[in-house]
């Protein structure tokens, strides 16, 4: 059975400081999937005031428990002074799910990776 996974990639400045963090989620973000990624998502996004791109292009299923996890991380990041941008690509079901719950109005969502970088660093 397909489960969820999480990986990250940091873009560094010349001095080694983190300029941008890319966090990629994939698979099914249902009750089981969120259990697998929630702790790491929090540790990657909610500890330092970084620009973060949350890449959901490989997410096949996003349940409300997954949305709650994303909101919690985005809120914690915001309180630290960081900023989250969601990268969706052409993921129509995930896009519709986020729009139906109004999340697109409080966390920026884009389809293009370069746009996501520009928005995260703005």
């Amino acid at each position: 059975m397909e489960t969820a996974s999480i990986r990250s990639d940091d873009v560094l400045e010349a001095d080694g400081a983190i300029r941008l963090r890319k966090v990629v989620l994939s698979g099914r973000l249902d009750m089981l999937g969120v259990e697998e990624i929630a702790l790491k998502l929090t540790s990657l996004t909610a500890i330092k005031p970084l620009p973060v791109i949350l890449d959901l292009r490989e997410v096949s299923f996003l349940a409300s428990i997954g949305i709650r996890s994303i909101i919690s991380s985005a809120r914690a990041l915001d309180q630290k002074g960081g900023r989250m941008v969601i990268l969706l690509g052409e993921n129509a079901l995930v896009k519709a799910t986020l729009e139906s719950t109004g999340i697109d109005d409080i966390i920026p969502m884009v389809s293009d990776p370069e746009q996501a970088e520009r928005d995260a660093l703005a």
Binding site: A63, I71, E90, N91
Partner: protein, 119 residues
């Protein structure tokens, strides 16, 4: 700028809403659900130029109409975003037909979604 994306199909929406209803039963139902299995029925109805998939979920938990739960307006800021109630919001947004009845000792929730037929 929001991503363009294709319209999501009815299958994905129905699966998502079923997941939300079952997750809610697990969270709210407690012991009653482990004693009495949840019964699912899927009907496919041909109604002329479109089809209808109707999912019926019967459970033996305490009487509860999830469709009667009211929710406030959508959040405008991250601080306003409430963690609860999102699953029901998805059901209300994605399903074309929704009904609830208490039949004997069971909750009966029906969810339906249309899809256009090809040429």
């Amino acid at each position: 700028m929001r991503p363009p994306g294709r319209a999501p199909g009815p299958t994905g929406k129905l699966e998502l809403c079923l997941n939300e209803v079952l997750a809610n039963l697990l969270e709210q139902g407690g012991a009653a659900e482990s004693d009495h299995p949840v019964e699912l029925t899927l009907e496919l109805v041909d109604s002329g130029d479109r089809g209808l998939a109707r999912l019926t979920i019967r459970d033996a938990g305490p009487a509860f109409d999830p469709l009667s739960v009211s929710r406030g307006p959508l959040p405008r800021t991250l601080g306003e975003a409430e963690p609860g109630g999102l699953g029901l919001l998805l059901v209300m947004q994605f399903m074309d037909e929704r009904s609830y009845a208490r039949e004997g000792e069971r909750n009966v929730l029906k969810l339906g979604i249309h899809w256009p037929k090809g040429p």
